[in-house]
C-alpha cells in the first residue's frame, strides 16, 4: 500500500494551473473581463436578474456545446445540432400539446429523437465513411425539414408554469417565494462534471480522444473505432435532445424553420474553449467557458445599447480573433514537435 502511494499519482502533485490547463485560465479571465466590462458600462447589467437571463439563455447553447465537443474531439464535427434541437423540441412538443402526452414523455421523446439522429450521424460517419461535415450537413437539412413536417409547420407552445405540465419549466428555474434560483445551472455543472469524468477517466472518453489523435493507430490497438465514433455522435445527439428540453423550458414557444446558427454558437464556444479543430484535444470545462463568452456577448451587447446587428459582427470578429490567437500560441509552443513529426 505504502509503496504504491509512493510511486503513484504524479498528477496529484500538479498545480491547479496545470490541471485546469493554460487555455482554460485564459478563457476564464476573458469571461471575467467581459463581465466586468459590461458591468462597468451598464448599471443594468450588474443585476442578479441579468445574470439569471444570461444563464437562462445559455443553457441550450451550453448543452449543445458540451455535446458537440465529443465529435470535435474525434476530429469530426456535428452541424445537425442546431436545427436538430428545434426538430426534437417540435416533435416532443407536438406530442405533448396536440396529442396529450404527459410532459415527461415528451421530454424523453426529445432525447430519444436526438439519440436517433446522433446514431444516424454516427452510422453515416463511422460505418459508411462519409465526411463528418457532409454527413451532418445532410442531417442538418433533414432535421430542419423533418421538424416542420412533423409539427405541420406549427409553432409549438410547450405548457407554461401554472398550467398542466408546466412543472417541467421549474427544472431549469425554481421560484421559491420571490427568490429565483437558476436550477438549470446546477444541472449544467453536474453534467459538466459527469462529461469531464467520462472524457478523462473512462474508456469512452479515452478512445474518443485516441481516435481524434490518430484514428488508424487506435484501430490497430484493437479499439473498435467504429463503435466509439458512433458513440461520440450519439452523445452529441443526446445533448442536442437535452438542449431541446432546455430551450422549450426557457422560451415560450418553439417555431419551425429556426435553429440554424445555434450549431455555430455551440461549435464556436467549444473552439474558443480550446477544442482542437483537428481533434484529439479538448476539455468540457473549456467548452463551458467558451460558450459563456458567446452568451455574455449575446446578452451583454444589447445592454450597452448596441443594436442586434452589431452583435453578429462582433461575435464573428471575436471568433476569428480567438482562433488566430490560439493558432499563434500553438505555433510557438509546438514548433519543436512539428519538426520532430516531420522526421517520421
Amino acid at each position: 500500500m505504502s509503496r504504491r502511494n509512493m510511486e503513484t499519482p504524479v498528477s496529484l502533485n500538479k498545480s491547479i494551473t496545470q490541471r485546469l490547463g493554460g487555455q482554460n485560465i485564459v478563457v476564464l479571465l476573458i469571461v471575467i473581463g467581459l463581465f466586468a466590462f459590461f458591468s462597468a458600462v451598464s448599471p443594468n447589467f450588474r443585476r442578479y436578474s441579468t445574470l439569471l437571463s444570461i444563464l437562462d439563455y445559455s443553457y441550450y447553447i451550453t448543452l449543445i456545446g458540451i455535446g458537440v465537443t465529443f465529435p470535435l474531439i474525434t476530429g469530426g464535427v456535428d452541424l445537425s445540432i442546431g436545427t436538430g434541437l428545434i426538430c426534437y423540441s417540435l416533435v416532443g412538443g407536438y406530442m405533448v400539446v396536440y396529442q396529450g402526452w404527459p410532459v415527461w414523455l415528451g421530454m424523453i421523446v426529445c432525447v430519444l429523437c436526438g439519440a436517433i439522429i446522433g446514431l444516424l450521424n454516427g452510422v453515416l460517419i463511422g460505418i459508411m465513411d462519409l465526411t463528418p461535415f457532409l454527413a451532418t450537413l445532410c442531417t442538418m437539412m433533414m432535421t430542419r425539414g423533418l421538424g416542420s413536417i412533423f409539427s405541420r409547420g406549427l409553432g409549438i407552445p410547450w405548457p407554461m408554469v401554472g398550467s398542466e405540465g408546466g412543472w417541467f419549466r421549474t427544472i431549469f428555474k425554481l421560484n421559491i417565494g420571490d427568490v429565483r434560483l437558476p436550477l438549470g445551472f446546477l444541472w449544467i455543472v453536474l453534467l459538466v462534471i459527469l462529461m469531464s469524468y467520462i472524457l478523462n477517466h473512462t474508456k469512452v472518453g479515452r478512445y474518443i480522444l485516441a481516435i481524434g489523435s490518430n484514428k488508424e493507430a487506435t484501430r490497430l490497438s484493437g479499439v473498435n473505432v467504429k463503435l466509439y465514433t458512433i458513440i461520440a455522435y450519439v452523445i452529441s445527439g443526446v445533448f442536442a435532445g437535452l438542449a431541446a428540453i432546455a430551450y422549450s423550458a426557457i422560451f415560450a414557444s418553439v417555431y419551425p424553420g429556426t435553429g440554424a446558427g445555434f450549431e455555430l454558437e455551440g461549435i464556436g464556444g467549444a473552439i474558443i474553449g480550446g477544442v482542437s479543430m483537428t481533434g484529439g484535444a479538448g476539455s468540457i470545462v473549456g467548452t463551458l467557458l467558451g460558450v459563456f463568452i458567446i452568451c455574455i456577448l449575446k446578452t451583454g451587447l444589447p445592454f450597452i445599447g448596441l443594436q442586434a446587428n452589431w452583435q453578429q459582427i462582433i461575435t464573428g470578429v471575436v471568433l476569428i480573433t480567438a482562433v488566430i490567437v490560439d493558432l499563434n500560441r500553438q505555433n510557438k509552443g509546438t514548433k519543436s514537435i512539428t519538426t520532430a513529426r516531420k522526421k517520421q
Binding site: M128, A135, M141, G145, Q312, I324
Partner: protein, 327 residues
Amino acid sequence: MYQIKQNPVVKKLGFNRIVLSMVLIAMYCFFAIFAKNFVSYNRILSALNYAYFLGFLALGVTFVIATGGIDFSIGPVMFCAAIMSGYLLTHYNWPLWICLIASIAIGALFGTFNGYLVAYKNVPPFITSMAIMQISKGVASVFTKAQSVSWPQLAHENGWYRNLIRVRVGNMYFPVGLVILLITAIICAIVLNKTKMGRYFLTLGSNKEALRLSGVRVRKWQMLAYTICGLLAGVAAIFFVAAYTTVQPGYGDQYNNEAIAGCVMGGTSMAGGLASIGGTFIGGMIISILQEGILAIGLNKNYQLVITGIIVIVAVYLDVLSRKRRV
C-alpha cells in the same frame, strides 16, 4: 458495368455525370406523372428561377471545395451583396450598372477576406466561414438599418436588370439566365480544367505542401479560390433579386447547404482535388426541379430538404464505395 464505363463516349462525358443526368430526367418524369399540370414551359421557367442563383453559388463553392476547403458563408454573403447594392440603388440612387458591379465586388471582397484568413492566417476554413457568415449578416443589417431591400420592378426605372433572367419575346419568355448560367459554367469548367489557375486549385486540394515545394505561391492561389467563390456569390445575388426582388438581412443560411449539396452531388470531393463543374451544374438543376416538383405534388419545402439530404448521402456513399474498391 465495367464495359459501359470504358466506352469512350461515356468516358468522355463522365460516368457520374451521365448517371446524374438520368436522375434529373427520372425526377422530371416522376413529377410529370404524379403532379398536376407539371409539364409546362412556365413550370420550367419557375424552377429555373431557383436554379439560377443556386447554380452560381454552387459553381463558386466548387472552386473552394476543389482546393480542399469549404465556404459556407456564401448564402449570407449573397444576401449581403444583394442588400447593400440594392440599398445603394434605392436609397442613394446610384446608377444600376454600378450597383450590379458593386454587388459582385462586395461578394468578391468577402470571399477575399475569407481566403486571406484561410491562406495567410491558417484559420480553418470551417471557422472562417462561420465568422464571415455572422459578419456578413451583421454588415448588411447595419448598412440598411435592419431593413429589407426591394429592387425595382421590371416596368420601373432601373428595372432592366430583371431581363437578365428572362426576356419577353412575343408571348413567350426566353430564359436568358439559363444561357448566362451555362456560359458561366462552361467558363468555370475551362478555368478549372484548362488553365494554370484551375490546375493549381486541384493540385492544392490534393497536396498543398507538394505544390508549395514545387515553387508555386500557394497562398495566393488558395485565396483566389475563395475570391472567385465570393465573386460568384455576388453574381448569384443579382440573379436572386432578378427573380425575387426582395432580400432581408439576417438570412441566407439554407442556401449554403443547398449549394454545397448540389456541388457534392455532382461528384466534387470534399477531400479536395477532384471537382466537376458539369456535375455541379446538374446537381443544382436537380435541387431546383425537386423544389418545384415537391410543391407541385402538394408538399412543402421541408420535404425537399429531407430528400436533398438523402440524395447527397447516397451520392457520396456510392463515391466512397467506388474509391474503396479502387485503392
